[in-house]
Structures are given as C-alpha cells and as structure tokens.
C-alpha cells in the first residue's frame, strides 16, 4: 500500500505575517527529522518561496493552459443558448441583414473560461482553444526537500485554477519522490486561490502577528478553515511586537490555543532578505521551531 502523504496548509489571512518564512522553516525542521518534504508555493500571483530559498525559476516543468471558446460555424444553429448561458455577458449575438439572429461572437476580454457555453451548446458547435495562463516549476532546494512553484501570467484574473493545477502536479511529484509531507504555502486573503490551496489539507497553520490587523484577518481565515472543515493551528509570528492579547481573544472565540510563538528575530529577517533562509543551520532551526 502506498504511504499516505501528510498535507499541511500554511496560511494566515493577512499578508506579510511570515507565511513563507514559516513554510521554509517548517520544511527544514521536517527534513532534519528525517522526512522527505515537498514545499508547494501556492501564492501563484506573487510566489516568493524560491526567492527566500535563494533559488531561481529556470525552465518550467509544465505549462498551464485554460480553454477559450471557438465557434464552429458549420454546426452552429444560431439558437442563442450560449448567449443566455454566459453569465459574464461575454457572448454577443448580432442580427444579420434580414434581422434574424446571427452567429454568436465571443468577447475574449470578458471571458472567464468557465466553459458554460460549450457545456450547454445543444449542437456541439463550440470547440475550445488552449492558451497558456501559467507555469509550474519544480526543483530541489536541498537533500530531501523539493520546491514546486505555481506562477500565474500577470494580468490573469482567476488564479484559483492555477493553484489547483499546481497542487495536482505537486501531489504527483510527491508520490514520485516518495515524500512524507507536502506543505501548501497559500497567498494572503480568504478567497478563490486560498480556498483552492487549502482544500484537501489535513490541517493548516495560520500564521499571524500581534496587531489588530493580524487579529482581524486571523478571525477571517479561521472562519474559512471552519467552513472548509480543516483543523487550524495558530502560529504567532513576531510575538513580541504588538499585543498578544488581541490574538488570544480571537483564538478563544474559535476555541483554539496559540500553538506556537516566534519572537521577532533579526537573524530570520536577514536570512529572509538575503535569500538564505533554506541555508539556516540545524541548531538555529530547531531552536526557532521547538515545541511544534
């Protein structure tokens, strides 16, 4: 029987609380415990795990495509079902010279490639055309630790599907490498791309900071975890810079405890800003990540 890979989400609601740094440090702790780990950067709009680990994104391991509708005029009966189905109002049906309904026109800028039009077309007259919307990169950070990064094309609106495809790739990759753990580092926020990243996780670390902003956004992400039925664990970063009570109150509201506190550390900040976080020494890592 293949072993079950443990899936952990790393999220937080607010941006800049240290999600990525925590994800890298947790990976280091796990490999030091003898585990094989895949770190999957699901912040596909602004992925940073490769930067703080001092890596480059070279050749993509895979391209991600989305489908857009193309009309096959020979099959089209001009029935207008696709026009009615399109909730983005991205399909326009002009009239011909006699005033009868003409062929539908697809307006690409408005299309969110949901596929409603080609799913509902009674005549199978809408084909699809693939266009690249993102890329997936994979590489080794160090022994027993690999990084999978999803990257959305700039200007792409819906990035949830990029996250979903990156995760699928990472899971297959993890199976090939016989990994024990896969860590999904999410974007900031509480919507599409974050939901995609958290779905299917065994539990999630919610990294926050002791400020009222951190507290408010923590409340939102804990709410999301509850809705998704994913157990949440609170990590309080820069625990000494602000007021811990504010986080304590939110934790209490959700009947949780602060699982782990990490004090502000110049060393982490420096390693982060120089792209050397993955090179942090064993002793340092186990000191920062103790009791976890």
């Amino acid at each position: 029987m293949p072993k079950k890979i443990k899936k952990i989400g790393i999220t937080g609601g607010k941006g800049g609380t240290g999600k990525s740094a925590f994800a890298v440090l947790l990976s280091l702790k796990l490999i030091e415990e003898g585990k094989k780990v895949i770190l999957c950067d699901c912040d596909v709009e602004c992925p940073n795990d490769y930067l703080i680990s001092g890596k480059k994104l070279n050749r993509p391991a895979k391209n991600i495509f989305a489908e857009f509708p193309v009309l096959n005029k020979k099959k089209c009966a001009k029935c207008g079902t696709c026009v009615k189905a399109c909730r983005q109002h991205a399909i326009f049906q002009p009239r011909d010279k006699k005033g009868n309904p003409g062929y539908p026109i697809f307006i690409k800028d408005l299309c969110e490639n949901c596929g409603a039009c080609w799913t509902v077309c009674p005549f199978g007259a809408i084909k699809t055309k693939k266009e690249r919307t993102g890329k997936i990169y994979a590489g080794k950070i160090k022994e027993n630790l690999w990084l999978v990064t999803g990257l959305a094309n700039p200007g792409l609106e819906e990035t949830g599907p990029i996250v979903a495809k990156t995760k699928k790739f990472a899971l297959d990759f993890a199976k090939r490498k016989k990994a024990d753990y896969i860590l999904f580092d999410t974007a900031a926020g509480t919507h599409c791309p974050v939901v995609s990243a958290l779905l299917g996780c065994d539990f999630a670390y919610c990294v926050t900071e002791p400020t009222p902003m951190g507290a408010y956004d923590l409340g939102l992400i804990l709410d999301l975890c509850e809705k998704l039925k994913i157990p949440a664990k609170i990590v309080l970063n820069r625990a000494d810079l602000g007021r811990k009570e504010t986080i304590g109150k939110i934790a209490e509201k959700f009947k949780l405890e602060i699982e782990k506190e990490i004090p502000h550390s110049k060393k982490i900040a420096e390693a982060y800003s120089k792209g050397r976080l993955a090179k942090m020494g064993k002793i340092q890592v186990s000191e920062i990540m103790k009791n976890l």
Binding site: D43, A85, T119, P154, M213, Y272
Partner: protein, 305 residues
C-alpha cells in the same frame, strides 16, 4: 474635465505597508482641507479602518450579493433514474455529486458558471444570488468618508465586490479618492486598478518585496497608468533599496517625473502604536515626517492633486 482623481495603492506582496501609507496620506489630504474619499478594496482582509484608528461603529452596513450559486430542487428529479449522475458528470468543476438520485453541491468548488441550470432537467437548478459580502461606510473623525468592502471568507466574487465598493464610494462628493488595494495581481487587484488615474506602489527592500512589486507593475503598465514607488523599511537592506531606486529612475527616464517618491524607515514602534489604535500621523515617530515628505512629493509630481 473629470474632477474626481483616483489614486490606487498597490504592492503585490502583502504586509508591506499599503494601508499604513493610505491611511496616513488620507489624513494629510484631510488636514489640507482636500475632499478625500477613503476606499478599502482589500475585501479579503480589509484593514484600512484599523490603520485610521477606528475599526468599529460603522454608519451603514449593506449586505450585497456578488455571485450566484445553484439552488437545487431535487423534487424535479423524481422518477428520473440516472439523471442526477448525468448532471454530475457535466459539471466541469466537480462541484456536484449525486447521493441516492439526489444532487448535492460543494459550494467551494462551484465557480457559479450556471451551466448546470441548462443541462440539468428543467426546474432542478436555479441560479440564485447569495448574500456573500457587505459594504460598510462611515464618516471618520477626520471628516472624510470611509467605504470598506468585506467578502465573506470562502465566497466567490472578489473582483465584483471591489467594483461595487468603488461604485458606492463614487456616490460621495470628493476631489480625491484613495484606493487601498489587495495584495497579489489577480481579480481584486485588477478591479482596484482598472480606472485609477495614478498608482502608488509600495515595496520593501527584500527580494520578494521587489519581485512582487515588479509583478503588479506589469498589470499597471498594461492599463497604462502613471505610477511612482515608495520604499518602506528602506533601512533593513540599503543595498537593495538603492537597487530599487536605480531601477525606478531608469523606468522614469524620458519622463518628467522621477518614479521614486520617497522612503520610510523601519520602526518597531509602528506595529506597537497601531496595536493601541494610534495612527502614525498622531505619533512623533520618524515615519510621520517621512510620509509627510512623500505626500508633498506626490502633490508636486502629480499636480492634479
């Protein structure tokens, strides 16, 4: 001539100081008797009210709907063996499943495309708007209005709610609108930037801060919006701060304006003071004067303000 000027604040990376800068500039504009409108477009995690020191007591909270979800009527499937399964197979997002000939929806997988309304037997599925967000407004103690969006966690429509929040904000009478955008480069950010007259980028001098600012700049340049950049916590990495400044001045070549607008130093007292709900502009921290400088350069550089 258009009278209302829209300035959006963006960064790509989260937590680098968008709301801090927005709140401070709002207070400075208000002090100079300019009619400003504060708009928080980070509907995932709206924090502008906190940075203004008044997160509570909204004048108005309006529940809104920014997406539709299928409402299922399983009675319509009675005596239609196998039909539920057929519907399930047609959903591209795997959001439908069938249990004992009954359809069930997983709302977190549903994209709200509405195709199911068409391919399921008549009367089974009707797309219905869901109340999934709210727009909060208030008159702040500084005299200007604040309009803030909140999309409930896990709901879809983060771009649409931004458009709604901006529409609500436009109802107020003002000269300058400051739009605090979400991190990232996707839906909500595109909706925040779309009709802005000017973008203020803020970056911190870390490889990720710089990289993410460049990512969001691709969106800004796509919309051909004039912009300039502020470096926050510039003293945590002087080398990279200089690199960002050089990059900005190269970007500004051939243009009248220098793209670099100013810098703010790192100060542990900033999170501490906001933890007591004291905005930077009401402290004596170094950042206060640094932001004042940025404010006057913004007004010089972007003279319509």
């Amino acid at each position: 001539m258009k009278t209302l000027i829209k300035i959006a604040i963006a960064s790509g990376k989260g937590g680098v100081g968008k709301s801090m800068l927005t709140s401070s500039l709002l207070m400075l504009f208000a002090k100079d008797k300019r009619k400003v409108i504060a708009v928080d477009c980070d509907a995932d995690a709206p924090n502008l009210a906190i940075w203004l020191g008044e997160p509570k007591n909204w004048d108005k909270v309006k529940k809104i709907s920014v997406s539709e979800k299928p409402a299922i009527n399983n009675n319509a499937l009675k005596n239609m063996a196998g039909k539920a399964e057929e519907c399930v197979k047609k959903c591209r997002f795997g959001a439908l499943r069938a249990e004992k000939e009954k359809l069930k929806l997983n709302p977190f997988l549903c994209e709200g495309c509405g195709a199911c309304e068409f391919f399921c037997p008549a009367g089974t599925i009707k797309m219905k708007p869901v109340k999934n967000g709210e727009i909060k407004t208030k008159k702040t103690k500084y005299g200007f209005p604040l309009i803030s969006g909140q999309l409930y966690p896990g709901e879809t429509g983060s771009g649409k709610i931004v458009t709604e929040v901006k529409r609500e904000a436009e109802k107020f009478n003002g000269d300058i609108m400051l739009i605090d955008s979400a991190p990232g480069t996707g839906c909500p950010v595109i909706a925040s930037l779309q009709d802005a007259d000017f973008v203020l980028l803020i970056a911190e001098p870390t490889p990720s801060g710089f990289s993410d600012a460049k990512r969001v700049l691709e969106v800004i340049e796509h919309f051909k919006i004039p912009w300039s950049i502020v470096i926050n916590k510039y003293d945590i990495n002087f080398e990279l701060s200089d690199k960002i400044k050089k990059w900005a001045s190269q970007k500004g070549q051939g243009q009248i304006n220098n793209k670099f607008l100013g810098e703010i130093s790192y100060d542990k007292n900033i999170p501490k003071s906001i933890s007591n709900l004291v905005p930077i502009m009401e402290t004596d921290l170094k950042a206060k004067n640094e932001i004042k400088k940025i404010y006057s350069r913004l007004r010089q550089q972007y003279q319509r303000t």
